[in-house]
Point group: none
Chain length 304, copies 2
DNA sequence: CTCGCCGACGAAACTTTCCTTCACTTCACG
DNA sequence: CGTGAAGTGAAGGAAAGTTTCGTCGGCGAG
């Protein structure tokens, strides 16, 4: 059907600009205009049809096709595909400039990219810095716990609640406390076999340390999730899980990356516990999922 | 105000895999086959015509075109161009690196690594799939809002609280509601100039949609943060921000990756608003930081 | 200066690819 | 068991891509 052309170069992937320069001398004037447009603005040309490109370069469709052939493609369609590829490569090539801090006048697209990058970095750091032995020990304690209390205030309070929500789902008895007084009041109830977990980025949040201390002194197993393993909170922690600390800036408070880091640790705890208690956890998870189903409207309301 | 149509996203450049995953649930079987083929082998599919791809997936041309439309392209031609771009990027860039599922007997170190990877992937997908125009619009609305209500239940409730905590820190009037009744009661108070935000992964959580509807009907600007932009919640949303959907498994409930995704979106909203209201936000942030300082114990208690 | 050859070029015919319409099938629901 | 809505593909229509062919303009010979 279309084997008419010989064993020439396979359609160039990205070395297009070079090819244009090489072949330019052997081109006629109109063809040069086309080649120039194509090399100069791949993205723009990829959006054009033959007719469009012909118009834009002040030539005819036939000339455009002839140029495409000369560049080694079977026709304009394939040149266009290569052009799209080239454009995408160029696009992604100029991405890595986002390592910088977020500035007040950054366009929103940069903000998205930078935040995503930062959080990815935080995750990598946390995973790398997490002590698996400590994690394992904490998981073991949680799995066997009669009762689990989790302390956290402020942003860490949400992380505490997240952990508790998850543990409840697999049938464990867990409570989150963000009220320091109530936390202490409850900590008094704990004893050996129970687990108290404190979540604090600074490692020195008094409101969280206090209940942990009480729990510790009553014989409960204590876990600390903190960005400062050398902070006061570790005094009363049997197991310390370290979260990472990313540099913060004015527009990017520490709360963001610490939260990401804490959540990863919490997820690890959860999955670890779920593994250990799989026989009980799996049906419990399924059941909680089931129970929620009826709270969702039947599908497809937003159709036009 | 705005027509109910949601898929207004401009053709995605490289966020295709993410988009496929996000939209897969709302696809019919044949369309899923097409989407799968496209996501699995971009390079190969880019070489095919509509007819070819239809044949390969055992469907008809019409279905292929429909799928292309659903993914946000005007037609197959444009999907094909994007595919070529994606292929080129993959070629030059890094491998997509599919993460394995978490198994019951995975050692804890693998769990950490896999969770971290999955969340990183989720972040990348979310960032790629986020419609910056919608984000910008939402940021503008929030920045100028007289009052901000945020609805979310379950895991999304924590995200709602996170957003509110942040907004409060920069001096905005924000409230989180996880009680559906109270949420509706409060929604009635909203009017033009106020902003209501609903956070729901499924896009069909009645408890969250209801207050958003009420707010919408009272003239407030409404924002939806959802993993299903075609879900019922979008009906009442002026601006829809799409979070990514990772495949879930038994040990890794959807709540995890959706939470990560939602938090990124929330962070973007926050930073965007902070930028816009910088003169007021900067001192407010500093002040809130200052106010917390005395709640931390002086450093270095745990050294031996 | 005129004529005729030749390559470059574009208009229009032609083909392929893409898109739309519509009727048939299937499945859920009353 | 009928009814309707959603999913699907065949076939015809529109658009893009390709080929054909005739015109134009330059250039050297007569």
């Amino acid at each position: 059907m279309k084997e008419s052309f010989v064993g020439e170069t396979p359609p160039a992937p990205a070395a297009l600009a070079a090819k244009v320069r090489t072949l330019a001398p052997s081109m006629t004037r109109s063809m040069q205009r086309v080649a120039e447009a194509v090399a100069g603005d791949p993205a723009g040309c990829a959006a054009l049809t033959v007719t469009g490109l012909a118009e834009r370069t002040g030539t005819s469709e036939a000339t455009v096709v002839r140029t495409a052939r000369l560049l080694g493609y079977p026709g304009y369609r394939d040149l266009r595909l290569a052009l799209a590829g080239l454009a995408a490569q160029q696009q992604s090539g100029r991405a890595p400039a986002v390592t910088a801090d977020i500035a007040v006048d950054d366009p929103i697209s940069d903000v998205v990219a930078k935040l995503a990058r930062d959080e990815q970095q935080t995750l990598a750091d946390t995973a790398a810095g997490l002590d698996t032995a400590q994690l394992e020990a904490a998981v073991a304690a949680l799995s066997a716990a009669r009762r689990i209390d989790v302390y956290g205030v402020g942003a860490s309070g949400l992380v505490a609640q997240d952990l508790v929500q998850k543990l409840l789902r697999i049938g464990l008895l867990a409570h989150a406390h963000s009220d320091p007084h109530l936390a202490v009041t409850n900590a008094v109830q704990l004893r050996a076999g129970d687990v108290a977990t404190a979540i604090t980025h600074s490692g020195s949040t008094g409101d969280v340390i206090e209940p942990l201390r009480v729990a510790f002194e009553h014989g409960a197993t204590t876990v600390a999730v903190t960005g400062r393993p050398d902070g006061p909170v570790s005094q009363y922690a049997d197991h310390v899980l370290t979260t990472s600390t990313a540099r913060e800036s004015e527009l990017r408070p520490a709360a963001m990356s610490s939260r990401t880091s804490q959540l990863l640790v919490v997820d690890c705890l959860f999955v670890g516990v779920a593994q250990r208690t799989y026989d009980a956890a799996a049906p419990a998870l399924a059941a909680s999922y089931e129970a929620l189903a009826h709270r969702h409207r039947p599908r497809g309301g937003a159709r036009r």
